[in-house]
Amino acid sequence: MKFSIIVNGAPWSSPSALSALHFAEAVAESEHELYRVFFYQDGVHNASAFVVPPQDETDLPSRWQRLIDNHHVDAVVCAASALKRGVIDAAEADRYEKSGHNLLPGFTISGLGQLVDAFQISDRVINFPT
Protein backbone atom coordinates (compact mmCIF):
# COMPACT_ATOMS: atom_id res chain seq x y z
CA MET A 1 0.00 0.00 0.00
CA LYS A 2 1.20 3.52 -0.83
CA PHE A 3 1.23 5.93 2.11
CA SER A 4 1.82 9.66 2.20
CA ILE A 5 2.15 11.69 5.37
CA ILE A 6 1.32 15.32 6.11
CA VAL A 7 3.36 16.94 8.88
CA ASN A 8 1.66 20.05 10.29
CA GLY A 9 3.48 20.59 13.57
CA ALA A 10 6.74 22.36 14.32
CA PRO A 11 9.28 20.38 16.35
CA TRP A 12 8.53 20.64 20.10
CA SER A 13 5.42 22.80 19.74
CA SER A 14 3.24 19.71 20.00
CA PRO A 15 3.65 15.93 19.78
CA SER A 16 2.41 16.10 16.18
CA ALA A 17 5.77 16.12 14.39
CA LEU A 18 7.25 13.36 16.55
CA SER A 19 4.16 11.20 16.01
CA ALA A 20 4.44 11.77 12.26
CA LEU A 21 8.11 10.81 12.34
CA HIS A 22 7.40 7.59 14.23
CA PHE A 23 4.68 6.69 11.74
CA ALA A 24 6.88 7.52 8.76
CA GLU A 25 9.72 5.40 10.14
CA ALA A 26 7.32 2.52 10.69
CA VAL A 27 5.98 2.74 7.12
CA ALA A 28 9.47 2.98 5.65
CA GLU A 29 10.55 -0.14 7.54
CA SER A 30 7.41 -2.08 6.61
CA GLU A 31 6.48 -3.78 3.36
CA HIS A 32 4.45 -0.67 2.45
CA GLU A 33 5.67 2.22 0.33
CA LEU A 34 6.17 5.73 1.65
CA TYR A 35 5.28 7.79 -1.42
CA ARG A 36 5.80 11.26 0.03
CA VAL A 37 6.15 13.19 3.27
CA PHE A 38 4.64 16.66 2.88
CA PHE A 39 5.74 19.32 5.38
CA TYR A 40 2.90 21.78 5.63
CA GLN A 41 2.16 24.92 7.66
CA ASP A 42 4.24 24.94 10.89
CA GLY A 43 5.59 21.51 9.90
CA VAL A 44 8.10 23.25 7.61
CA HIS A 45 10.27 23.97 10.66
CA ASN A 46 11.22 20.28 10.67
CA ALA A 47 13.29 21.02 7.57
CA SER A 48 15.32 23.83 9.12
CA ALA A 49 19.07 23.42 9.50
CA PHE A 50 19.06 26.20 12.08
CA VAL A 51 17.27 24.12 14.71
CA VAL A 52 19.52 23.42 17.70
CA PRO A 53 17.81 21.13 20.21
CA PRO A 54 19.14 20.48 23.70
CA GLN A 55 21.50 17.50 23.71
CA ASP A 56 19.17 15.30 25.71
CA GLU A 57 16.16 15.86 23.44
CA THR A 58 15.19 14.28 20.12
CA ASP A 59 16.68 16.12 17.17
CA LEU A 60 13.71 15.94 14.83
CA PRO A 61 15.24 17.57 11.74
CA SER A 62 18.20 15.16 11.93
CA ARG A 63 15.89 12.19 12.43
CA TRP A 64 13.85 13.24 9.37
CA GLN A 65 17.03 13.65 7.40
CA ARG A 66 18.24 10.18 8.37
CA LEU A 67 14.90 8.68 7.32
CA ILE A 68 15.02 10.56 4.00
CA ASP A 69 18.59 9.41 3.31
CA ASN A 70 18.16 5.80 4.39
CA HIS A 71 14.90 5.19 2.55
CA HIS A 72 15.12 7.70 -0.32
CA VAL A 73 11.97 9.42 0.89
CA ASP A 74 10.44 12.17 -1.23
CA ALA A 75 10.32 14.94 1.40
CA VAL A 76 8.50 18.00 0.08
CA VAL A 77 8.29 21.27 1.97
CA CYS A 78 5.29 23.42 1.03
CA ALA A 79 6.67 26.56 -0.62
CA ALA A 80 3.93 28.93 0.52
CA SER A 81 4.18 27.65 4.11
CA ALA A 82 7.98 27.66 4.16
CA LEU A 83 8.84 31.02 2.68
CA LYS A 84 6.62 32.99 5.01
CA ARG A 85 8.07 31.12 7.99
CA GLY A 86 11.66 31.73 6.98
CA VAL A 87 12.52 28.23 5.78
CA ILE A 88 14.26 28.79 2.45
CA ASP A 89 16.76 27.11 0.16
CA ALA A 90 19.71 28.70 -1.61
CA ALA A 91 17.73 29.51 -4.76
CA GLU A 92 14.98 31.31 -2.84
CA ALA A 93 17.55 33.13 -0.71
CA ASP A 94 19.15 34.39 -3.88
CA ARG A 95 15.82 35.27 -5.45
CA TYR A 96 14.59 37.25 -2.46
CA GLU A 97 18.02 38.60 -1.54
CA LYS A 98 18.10 37.04 1.91
CA SER A 99 21.33 36.77 3.86
CA GLY A 100 21.17 33.02 4.45
CA HIS A 101 19.33 29.81 3.74
CA ASN A 102 18.43 26.93 6.00
CA LEU A 103 16.72 24.11 4.12
CA LEU A 104 18.33 20.83 5.13
CA PRO A 105 19.76 18.66 2.34
CA GLY A 106 17.30 15.96 1.34
CA PHE A 107 14.24 18.20 1.58
CA THR A 108 12.75 19.90 -1.49
CA ILE A 109 10.68 23.08 -1.57
CA SER A 110 7.71 22.73 -3.92
CA GLY A 111 4.09 23.71 -4.33
CA LEU A 112 0.77 22.57 -2.95
CA GLY A 113 0.34 20.60 -6.15
CA GLN A 114 2.66 18.01 -4.64
CA LEU A 115 0.11 17.45 -1.88
CA VAL A 116 -2.68 17.07 -4.43
CA ASP A 117 -0.47 14.61 -6.33
CA ALA A 118 0.04 12.66 -3.09
CA PHE A 119 -3.74 12.46 -2.68
CA GLN A 120 -4.10 11.25 -6.26
CA ILE A 121 -1.37 8.60 -6.09
CA SER A 122 -1.46 7.33 -2.49
CA ASP A 123 -3.81 4.71 -1.12
CA ARG A 124 -3.71 6.42 2.27
CA VAL A 125 -2.76 9.96 3.23
CA ILE A 126 -2.21 10.33 6.97
CA ASN A 127 -2.51 13.85 8.33
CA PHE A 128 -0.88 14.74 11.65
CA PRO A 129 -2.64 17.91 12.83
CA THR A 130 -1.37 20.05 15.67
Binding site: V116, V125, N127
Partner: protein
Protein backbone atom coordinates in the same frame (compact mmCIF):
# COMPACT_ATOMS: atom_id res chain seq x y z
CA UNK B 1 -18.58 11.37 -6.16
CA UNK B 2 -16.07 9.12 -7.86
CA UNK B 3 -13.52 7.03 -6.03
CA UNK B 4 -10.84 9.61 -6.76
CA UNK B 5 -12.63 12.19 -4.66
CA UNK B 6 -11.06 14.47 -2.10
CA UNK B 7 -13.42 15.88 0.50
CA UNK B 8 -12.24 18.93 2.43
CA UNK B 9 -13.98 19.58 5.75
CA UNK B 10 -13.75 23.19 6.87
CA UNK B 11 -14.47 23.57 10.57
CA UNK B 12 -12.94 26.88 11.68
CA UNK B 13 -14.21 30.45 11.65
CA UNK B 14 -12.67 32.55 8.87
CA UNK B 15 -10.33 34.84 10.81
CA UNK B 16 -9.39 32.96 13.99
CA UNK B 17 -6.59 31.01 12.31
CA UNK B 18 -4.93 30.29 8.98
CA UNK B 19 -7.18 27.28 8.38
CA UNK B 20 -9.81 29.01 6.24
CA UNK B 21 -7.31 30.37 3.77
CA UNK B 22 -5.35 27.10 3.70
CA UNK B 23 -8.54 25.17 2.91
CA UNK B 24 -9.31 27.49 -0.01
CA UNK B 25 -5.75 27.16 -1.32
CA UNK B 26 -5.94 23.36 -1.29
CA UNK B 27 -9.41 23.38 -2.86
CA UNK B 28 -8.26 25.58 -5.74
CA UNK B 29 -5.05 23.60 -6.24
CA UNK B 30 -6.95 20.32 -6.29
CA UNK B 31 -9.33 21.76 -8.88
CA UNK B 32 -6.38 22.97 -10.96
CA UNK B 33 -5.03 19.39 -10.94
CA UNK B 34 -8.40 18.04 -12.10
CA UNK B 35 -9.13 16.32 -8.81
CA UNK B 36 -12.72 15.52 -8.00
CA UNK B 37 -12.92 17.84 -5.00
CA UNK B 38 -15.77 18.73 -2.68
CA UNK B 39 -15.63 21.23 0.16
CA UNK B 40 -17.90 21.04 3.21
CA UNK B 41 -18.46 23.97 5.57
CA UNK B 42 -19.42 22.61 8.96
CA UNK B 43 -19.25 23.41 12.67
CA UNK B 44 -17.91 26.97 13.09
CA UNK B 45 -16.70 26.79 9.49
CA UNK B 46 -20.19 27.82 8.36
CA UNK B 47 -19.30 31.39 9.40
CA UNK B 48 -17.08 31.50 6.31
CA UNK B 49 -20.22 31.48 4.19
CA UNK B 50 -21.93 34.59 5.49
CA UNK B 51 -22.18 37.70 3.36
CA UNK B 52 -20.80 41.09 4.22
CA UNK B 53 -17.53 39.95 5.75
CA UNK B 54 -15.46 43.08 6.23
CA UNK B 55 -11.80 42.33 6.86
CA UNK B 56 -10.97 46.06 6.86
CA UNK B 57 -7.52 46.63 8.27
CA UNK B 58 -7.31 43.19 9.93
CA UNK B 59 -4.58 42.00 7.58
CA UNK B 60 -6.61 38.94 6.57
CA UNK B 61 -7.66 38.27 3.01
CA UNK B 62 -11.43 38.18 2.64
CA UNK B 63 -12.46 34.51 2.57
CA UNK B 64 -16.08 35.52 2.08
CA UNK B 65 -15.21 36.78 -1.38
CA UNK B 66 -13.18 33.71 -2.34
CA UNK B 67 -15.89 31.14 -1.66
CA UNK B 68 -18.49 32.51 -4.13
CA UNK B 69 -15.70 32.50 -6.76
CA UNK B 70 -15.07 28.74 -6.41
CA UNK B 71 -17.50 27.92 -9.21
CA UNK B 72 -15.34 29.93 -11.61
CA UNK B 73 -12.56 27.41 -10.89
CA UNK B 74 -14.83 24.43 -11.58
CA UNK B 75 -15.41 23.67 -7.91
CA UNK B 76 -19.13 23.03 -8.03
CA UNK B 77 -19.46 20.77 -4.99
CA UNK B 78 -19.66 23.29 -2.19
CA UNK B 79 -21.66 21.92 0.70
CA UNK B 80 -23.08 23.40 3.86
CA UNK B 81 -23.77 21.16 6.84
CA UNK B 82 -27.28 22.31 7.62
CA UNK B 83 -27.32 21.31 11.32
CA UNK B 84 -24.24 23.53 11.85
CA UNK B 85 -25.87 26.45 10.02
CA UNK B 86 -29.03 25.98 12.08
CA UNK B 87 -27.05 25.88 15.31
CA UNK B 88 -25.63 29.33 14.59
CA UNK B 89 -28.82 30.66 12.90
CA UNK B 90 -27.05 31.80 9.74
CA UNK B 91 -29.19 30.04 7.12
CA UNK B 92 -30.41 33.36 5.68
CA UNK B 93 -27.02 35.03 5.51
CA UNK B 94 -25.13 33.11 2.86
CA UNK B 95 -22.96 35.12 0.49
CA UNK B 96 -23.67 32.78 -2.41
CA UNK B 97 -26.37 30.73 -4.09
CA UNK B 98 -26.07 27.10 -5.05
CA UNK B 99 -24.74 25.71 -1.77
CA UNK B 100 -25.54 22.01 -1.51
CA UNK B 101 -27.19 21.16 1.80
CA UNK B 102 -25.92 18.19 3.80
CA UNK B 103 -27.62 16.71 6.83
CA UNK B 104 -25.80 14.36 9.21
CA UNK B 105 -26.67 11.28 7.20
CA UNK B 106 -25.57 12.81 3.89
CA UNK B 107 -22.32 14.02 5.47
CA UNK B 108 -21.63 10.52 6.72
CA UNK B 109 -22.21 9.07 3.25
CA UNK B 110 -20.02 11.71 1.59
CA UNK B 111 -17.12 10.99 3.94
CA UNK B 112 -17.55 7.24 3.65
CA UNK B 113 -17.45 7.41 -0.16
CA UNK B 114 -14.50 9.79 -0.37
CA UNK B 115 -11.09 8.38 -1.18
CA UNK B 116 -9.38 11.01 0.98
CA UNK B 117 -10.61 13.47 3.60
CA UNK B 118 -8.72 16.57 4.69
CA UNK B 119 -9.84 18.50 7.74
CA UNK B 120 -9.17 22.18 8.37
Amino acid sequence: MSNDSLVILVRHTPYSSHHARAAMDLTLTAAAFDSDVGVVFMDEGVFQLISGQDTGTSGFKNVGKMIPALAAYDVDKVYVHTPSAARFSIEDEYAMDGLLPLDDEALKTLVQNARHVMVY
